[in-house]
């Protein structure tokens, strides 16, 4: 009996301790979750805290004006209400809904929409939102969420996200998702700490660059499918597509690949065609995608990393919906320190004080060194740490070499600008996007003294080349602005360099070389040829002009001469006649 009692006590004490501890842990995380929920639900207040910013990015203005600082310069096209609903959404005309609502209750969305739009209804039926307790894991999660939001959930249905009524219909934002999924939403929001480029400020990055409204001004308002579709990234369904919203889907590389591909960031190609990608293509279908990233054992669950497994890693075995914390090279578009630039790149960012244009990259700053260390740690999950470190250093050195080449290219262009040797003189070319209003709108404080002066004195007729404001060189539509040589250069630094960078970073040798570095070298030669031709043309033009002037002078001179001789002759002849008489 005594032994039994002792046994009971011995069992009870650890049990009690365990209960107390787990209760404590739960209690702590619950208050934390509540806090996160508050942050997530005030999504826009956190991201855009001032009235001006709200006016630019949050307040709904329908289709009357645009977004961002140039909102009065352009008007969106009707489709934009779906790309950027927070700013431009217009509710459907509501009169006939009154009649509908006489027959249907607001909770009857599904019954009606099953016939009208069966696609998304059936999609939703398959989702966890429609079967909240489809397995024990989700049942437990649902229970936690119910506790958090303080009401019971049978299913998460249309009205939970879109509003109860057609009259108050809206497109859900991350703030809507954040009510039940606060942790995921706040993680996503934390991207903003790192500054652009990131997903969360996609809308801002879309409408702030001057070429966006300029396209509207020049009469191409729907030409920007690329800008709008890619930059509508400030939402959860970019990875967890509607209306299934599956976590498992978000864990697959394809979630990233639909955007991260192509000319400017060939991530899908470089990862997908690398050995890592091919192992994924071969075996990925058999992996357990329901498993959270933190529980993945490399080599066992995944035989090769996915995008998320490396880019979501936050160190110490934790993962978050934030792929930008570890980024060092930032898409490779910011000139790094540590190169003796010969061209105008040495003055970058030319005094401009507008993020993300206002800094030069320091790859060896303490923060970036830490990020590099994190990368080495990530790679070392599978590779030898020495290999990982050497690969990482090699990537840095490779990028420095690419930037030295860009410096060379920039110097070639600088000379052409200096000589004003473009096909059409700078004064006769079209303005830089919004060049006529940039100087007055931003002032010398934001633009920097020299840039301000350049814009102010030439009314925007200034050639802007290279990172990052020279990006318009790839698509602007002005008279000879950009010219061919500028387009070649923009192609090189934005596209080819990106291929080289991503190819090396993701281990795809052919893209790194033949579509990347080799193209960069080629472009240097092409630029040199083009520059020679332009200079030659300029000189020829000058000579011809001189020659033309000479010819005119000759003709005029000879006419004057002949007239003079004739008059002189006439005068003598006259005098002789007079003396004869």
């Amino acid at each position: 009996m005594k032994l039994l009692k002792l046994g009971a006590v011995l069992v009870a004490i650890p049990m009690l301790m365990w209960c107390w501890q787990t209760k404590n842990v739960h209690a702590q995380s619950e208050t934390k979750l509540k806090e996160m929920q508050k942050t997530a639900m005030s999504y826009y207040d956190v991201l855009y805290p001032t009235d001006t910013l709200k006016d630019w990015f949050v307040n709904n203005v329908g289709l009357e004006k645009g977004g961002g600082p140039w909102q009065n310069v352009y008007k969106p096209v009707p489709l934009h209400m779906y790309w950027f609903p927070i700013k431009h959404y217009v509710k459907p005309d509501g009169t006939y809904y009154d009649q509908l609502l006489e027959r249907f209750k607001p909770s009857d969305c599904v019954a009606c929409h099953e016939e009208v739009t069966p696609g998304f209804v059936n999609d939703w039926r398959e989702s966890t939102h429609a079967n909240l307790r489809k397995n024990p894991k989700f049942a437990e999660k649902t229970q936690q969420i119910e506790k958090l939001i303080g009401r019971e959930l049978k299913e998460v249905t249309c009205s939970d996200c879109h509003g109860k009524d057609h009259k108050e219909l809206h497109m859900p934002t991350p703030a809507t998702c954040g009510e039940c999924h606060p942790q995921q939403t706040t993680e996503f929001m934390s991207e903003a700490h790192r500054g652009r480029p990131n997903h969360i400020e996609g809308f801002a990055a879309n409408v702030i660059p001057p070429w966006y409204p300029e396209m509207f001004r020049r009469g191409y308002p729907t030409a920007q499918f690329g800008c709008d579709l890619c930059h509508a990234t400030d939402r959860c369904n970019i990875c967890h597509t509607r209306h299934k919203f599956a976590a498992a889907e978000g864990r697959r590389p394809e979630a990233c690949m639909s955007c991260h591909m192509g000319f400017d960031h060939p991530d899908a190609e470089t990862y997908g065609e690398s050995k890592m990608g091919y192992i994924y293509h071969l075996e990925g279908d058999h992996w357990d995608w329901e498993k959270p990233l933190a529980e993945i054992v490399p080599g066992k669950d995944y035989r090769t990393p996915t995008c998320q497994f490396c880019h979501f890693d936050q160190g110490d075995g934790t993962f978050a919906h934030n792929p930008v914390t570890k980024g060092v090279w930032r898409m490779g578009t910011v000139p790094p320190k540590g190169i003796d630039y010969k061209s105008s790149l040495k003055d970058y960012p030319h005094g401009i004080n507008l993020p993300p244009l206002n800094y030069r990259l320091d790859v060896y700053s303490p923060e970036n060194k830490k990020r590099s260390e994190q990368w080495v740690a990530v790679c070392s999950k599978c590779h030898s740490p020495r290999f990982a470190r050497l690969y990482r250093q090699n990537l840095d050195d490779f990028m420095f070499e690419m930037w030295r080449l860009q410096d060379r290219a920039q110097a070639i262009l600088d000379e052409i600008v200096e000589l004003d040797a473009f096909e059409v003189p700078i004064k006769e070319r079209d303005i830089f996007p919004l060049g006529d209003i940039l100087a007055d709108a931003l002032g010398p404080g934001l633009l920097g003294e020299s840039v301000y002066k350049a814009f102010k004195t030439n009314a925007g007729k200034v050639p802007v080349i290279g990172p990052i404001l020279g990006l318009h060189g790839l698509f602007a539509t002005g008279r000879n602005n950009p010219s061919e040589i500028e387009i070649t250069y923009a192609d090189m630094w934005f596209g080819d360099k990106a291929h080289a960078y991503k190819g090396v970073a993701h281990g795809q040798q052919d893209i790194a070389w033949w579509y990347g570095a080799a193209k960069v070298y080629q472009k240097i030669n092409i630029l040199e040829s083009q520059a020679e031709a332009l200079k030659h043309g300029k000189e020829l033009h000058k000579l011809l002009e001189e020659k033309g002037r000479k010819n005119v002078a000759g003709i005029v001179g000879s006419i004057i001469g002949i007239v003079a001789v004739l008059m002189f002759g006439a005068a003598i002849w006259k005098k002789r006649r007079e003396t004869k008489h």
């Binding site: 004490i13 110490d316 320190k337 790859v363 060896y364 260390e373 740690a377």
Partner: protein, 364 residues
């Protein structure tokens, strides 16, 4: 004398004359003067602008003085006398000086490019300690001999542990002596700087543990048993929760790793590897690239004389006195002050097992 010899003499003297005039020109009009001239002209333009926009009389007077100084500048060699013993017997050329700022004269520009100069100011540490080159030389070629232009090139220095010791040693030599004789400046005090003069980064214990869980298992096990949960206890302590930021800082200083007093941030909770072995940037680099013995030389706690200066700052008597004061001031129970809460390794004793069920002391 034949005409030929006369001609030769004439040519040679002409050459001599040309050569010496070139030399004299360089001597009286050196290249650094050009940089100084450019700088002063630039400053004069700036000062003029400020002068024109200035409103108050006092300001105008000051700016006028400055403008006058900028318009009639004194061109001179500028130098920093560096501390240390650089005598002939050590094959060093007398007092060490850095004259870099004779050409690199724009201090504003230098400061904005060197965020670390707040901690390692130019006028004490000079330039050559990080950048290399010859501080005494006044022409570009010899001054820039063996120079590291930027951080990327400085990284080349991380080749052996000796290089690092030399670098840290040099920093220690250059540091002025404190008035307090107990504050001895030694090489170990500078271990926190990496080769670029930035604060060395903390790589995190995960990285160390990856190999050292197997390599030095007794050491790691002991640490895991005793140390790494102290911060859990701190976080649960009522005075930490209720304390002000300043109060919290006094806890963070010893209970976290990589704590930075200026920013109030830390890299890891608890006392982990780098709390004693120092920031791991340099030595973990050596270990990663297959030069473990070099890394070991740096990571070893005893490398810098005694270990007192590493353990001492936290492990001294009456280190928790402020807690007692805190509880007393608020009239609450001071139970939390007593050892079972301050020394976590007692947590597993039988006495503690029963205690969690008793209500926690209230201080509010």
């Amino acid at each position: 004398m034949s005409a030929q010899i006369k001609f030769l003499f004439f040519v040679l003297s002409a050459l001599f004359f040309i050569g010496s005039s070139m030399w004299i020109k360089d001597e009286f009009n050196p290249k650094w003067k050009k940089y100084q001239k450019e700088y002063y002209e630039e400053q004069a333009v700036k000062a003029e602008q400020e002068f024109l926009t200035a409103s108050s009389v006092k300001e105008k007077e000051l700016l006028g003085k400055r403008l006058a100084a900028m318009r009639n500048p004194v061109f001179e060699v500028k130098q920093i006398l560096l501390k240390g013993d650089y005598s002939w017997e050590k094959q060093r050329n007398g007092n060490k000086v850095d004259r870099c700022m004779t050409c690199h004269i724009d201090e504003e520009k230098l400061k904005s490019g060197h965020p670390s100069s707040r901690e390692l100011p130019f006028d004490v540490y000079g330039c050559t300690v990080c950048h290399g080159g010859n501080g005494r030389a006044l022409d570009e070629e010899s001054a820039h001999e063996g120079i590291y232009y930027h951080k990327r090139q400085m990284m080349q220095r991380v080749a052996t542990a000796e290089n690092m010791f030399e670098f840290w040693g040099e920093l220690a030599t250059l540091t002025p002596e404190e008035a307090d004789p107990n504050e001895r400046v030694e090489m170990g005090s500078f271990k926190k700087y990496s080769i670029t003069g930035d604060k060395a980064i903390y790589v995190g214990s995960q990285k160390c543990l990856k190999c050292h869980t197997g390599l030095t298992s007794p050491h790691v096990e002991r640490w895991q048993r005793i140390k790494f949960k102290t911060f859990e206890h701190v976080k649960a302590a009522p005075d930490y929760i209720a304390g002000s930021e300043e109060y919290k800082k006094t806890c963070l200083k010893c209970h976290t790793t990589g704590y930075d007093d200026t920013t109030g941030t830390y890299t890891e909770e608890g006392v982990t590897c780098e709390a004693c072995h120092g920031a791991g940037e340099v030595f973990s680099y050596f270990m990663d690239v297959g030069k473990a013995p070099e890394g070991q030389k740096i990571a070893k706690v005893g490398t810098y004389g005694t270990a007192y200066n590493i353990c001492g700052p936290c492990h001294h008597t009456r280190n928790h006195e402020m807690r007692l004061k805190f509880f007393k001031e608020r009239g609450g129970s001071d139970e939390w002050f007593f050892p079972q809460h301050t020394t976590p390794y007692k947590a597993s004793s039988s006495e503690h097992e029963a205690s969690p069920l008793s209500p926690l002391p209230k201080i509010f």
